[in-house]
């Protein structure tokens, strides 16, 4: 048990370390004075802000210090939750902006990931049943996975949002509303949530359906399936076993795909001007707000790592083989 998780945690720690180091290194790798070039590129109209920022940057970067000291300082401020100050939304600390955006991103991601995984697996298992289903579900699945997230989002926003007028095509809630625990606000929130959710859900769905279909064919060919068939077990039982066993690699697949889905969510948020992390990223890019960009990046990495770890735990709980091995029970 300790070994399984120890190894996983080690990889995640290493990944986090790599992400932080990338974050630290990239601005320093660029030619020229990073502070000057940053400020020059930032669209600041307030002279006082520029000065304040220059001082802040200098302290933060500490370019006069030796490299290892700079690196160490970077880590220290990171652990203090200090990700810098936003340029785009001066002088809000980056961490506040991110914490404000995270719930929206999670609200989109969690339901779409979980639902697309469940429904996609179900469709895939269904497809493996007959040639006819296979030939209809499969191409649709392939078209869906090949769809760029933002394009499907655009299509939905345009067709269901603007042309049909069924759902709002932009924003996270009505412009006139203030966040509150009221029915009007919540229903507005849900209305705005639906289209971005749907587009994320649909694109991810295709991949899961295809993956499950392939896995289940493999399982149906396996020797335990053969044995059950030779003993006259009904197809229902054999499919049930195959489905359960095919779910396990699909769970691993979920961990691998997580990064892609998160990226898709960022793009989808941009299309819908949905105020999650993706929207922050767009603002950061358009306003050359590098602190915001880096901070958001770190948060995304942390989120993905946590999600991976949760999947690992679930996997260990679901697959008896991992469990047995962890107990050292195998002879």
């Amino acid at each position: 048990m300790r070994k399984y998780f120890g190894r996983k945690i080690f990889v995640y720690a290493l990944t986090f370390f790599a992400a932080v180091t990338i974050n630290w290194m990239i601005p320093r790798l660029m030619p020229g004075d990073p502070i000057k070039s940053r400020l020059a590129r930032a669209s600041l109209n307030d002279a006082g802000a520029a000065e304040a920022l220059y001082g802040y940057f200098n302290k933060m970067f500490g370019l006069d210090l030796p490299l290892w000291q700079q690196y160490l300082n970077f880590w220290v401020s990171l652990f203090q939750g200090d990700l810098g100050i936003s340029i785009w939304n001066f002088p809000t600390p980056v961490i506040d902006l991110i914490l404000g955006a995270v719930p929206y991103s999670l609200g989109l991601l969690l339901p779409s990931i979980i639902l697309s995984w469940l429904v996609g697996n179900w469709f895939g298992a269904y497809a493996a049943r007959s040639k006819w289903l296979d030939n209809t579900i499969l191409p649709i699945g392939y078209i869906l996975t090949a769809t760029p997230y933002m394009w499907l989002a655009l299509l939905l926003a345009w067709s269901l949002g603007i042309v049909a007028g069924l759902f709002p095509a932009a924003g996270s809630y009505g412009l006139s509303l203030q966040p509150a625990f009221t029915w009007t606000f919540i229903s507005s929130l849900l209305e705005h949530w639906f289209l971005p959710f749907l587009s994320l859900f649909l694109v991810a769905l295709g991949g899961w359906a295809i993956g499950m279909r392939n896995m289940i064919i493999y399982e149906l060919e396996s020797e335990y399936s053969n044995y059950l068939q030779a003993l006259g077990a009904p197809r229902r039982l054999i499919r049930k076993y195959a489905f359960r066993n095919a779910m396990l690699p699909q769970l691993t697949g979920l961990a691998v795909q997580l990064g892609t889905v998160v990226a898709g969510a960022l793009l989808t948020e941009i299309v819908f001007s949905y105020q999650g992390l993706g929207y922050l990223i767009l603002q950061a890019i358009q306003n050359q707000d590098f602190f915001l960009l880096q901070g958001t990046f770190l948060f995304i990495v942390i989120g993905v790592l946590i999600a991976n770890f949760i999947i690992d735990i679930v996997y260990a709980l679901v697959d008896p083989r991992v469990r047995v091995q962890m107990q050292g029970g195998a002879k």
């Binding site: 990239i26 078209i143 394009w151 345009w158 892609t260 998160v262 990046f297 002879k331």
Partner: protein, 304 residues
């Protein structure tokens, strides 16, 4: 496990006596390839797009950025795909965009394939601590959310071209390929013919290139196709947020401009529908083609 090393078992040999197979396996693959609708349809669409991207641009009068027509014209005989708010011809943009889509796919997918396969082969063949280290590296890059990393990198680079973009994409999208190739190479490495090549005094890299890789060529090809698709989608994402190459035209960039200049609100669907459709068609056909290839090379799937 007591049954770790199964004893020889002649019955696992195919029931059909081996002597009775005079036809080369390659011909058989071709036979099935031509009869596989998925492969044929997928390949045709991909080739059609490739042809358009390669052949059409020289015949076009205008460059993709040129503002010469009335703005926001819907599709017509004159402007097949309509025009942008600035009077640029969208068909021209689309055709050039296809070009760069294929370029990113080939380069990005190619670089990722080279890195992934090299790491996969070395890890799978060498084993031991080399495998451990490479595995660790693979896992770390695998867990990193690729597009987010690309955002960071691209945001800091002032100006760059399609080739650089492909390079960035290639550098970040190889891990799953490395993993897949590793496990295949690992199982092939345990085959006796690899040991025999060692006993013939053949150097390791030569064994990998000449004995192991050719045995999984169809698998490698399919891996490349998937990497190609991934690279195209990643590039589209980068272009869409405005972090794409500064020169040239791409399908993602068309969508970026469409959103930036309010095509959605204006209902100018011809501005953002065709580019996405183009990407979906190219990548989707490649995926479908891949299934076809899988069925051709994998007799088990063929029966379905």
């Amino acid at each position: 496990m007591t049954a770790a090393q199964p004893l020889p078992d002649p019955t696992t040999a195919p029931e059909e006596p081996a002597v009775a197979t005079p036809k080369a396996p390659r011909l058989e693959a071709l036979y099935f390839a031509l009869r596989n609708p998925k492969l044929v349809v997928g390949l045709s669409i991909v080739l059609l797009f490739l042809l358009v991207g390669l052949v059409v641009p020289p015949f076009l009068e205008h460059t993709p950025g040129e503002r010469y027509a009335p703005p926001l014209l819907p599709p017509s005989a004159e402007h097949w795909f309509g025009t942008t708010q600035f009077g640029q011809d969208l068909f021209t943009q689309f055709v050039y965009g296809i070009r760069s889509t294929f370029l990113v796919g080939f380069l990005g997918g190619g670089i990722a394939a080279v890195i992934g396969m090299t790491i996969g082969f070395v890890a799978g063949y060498k084993g031991g601590w080399i495998d451990e280290v490479l595995n660790m590296l693979t896992n770390v890059v695998l867990v990193l959310p690729t597009l987010a990393v690309l955002f960071i990198i691209a945001a800091y680079v002032d100006s760059y071209g399609v080739v650089t973009q492909s390079f960035f994409i290639g550098m970040t999208s190889w891990p799953w390929a490395a993993r897949a190739v590793r496990s295949q190479a690992l199982s092939l490495s345990s085959r006796d013919f690899v040991d025999l090549a060692r006993l013939s005094g053949v150097r390791p890299w030569k064994i990998i290139v000449r004995d192991i890789a050719p045995n999984m060529s169809s698998y490698l090809f399919m891996t490349f196709i998937l990497l190609f698709g991934g690279a195209v989608l990643a590039a589209a994402g980068l272009d869409f947020v405005g972090l794409g190459p500064n020169d040239g035209m791409s399908l993602g960039l068309i969508m970026h401009q469409a959103v930036k200049w309010g095509a959605l609100q204006l209902g100018v669907w011809w501005w953002f529908v065709p580019p996405g459709l183009g990407i979906t068609a190219i990548v989707g056909s490649m995926y479908v083609m891949n299934v076809g290839l899988d069925e051709v090379f994998n007799p088990k799937l063929r029966e379905m």
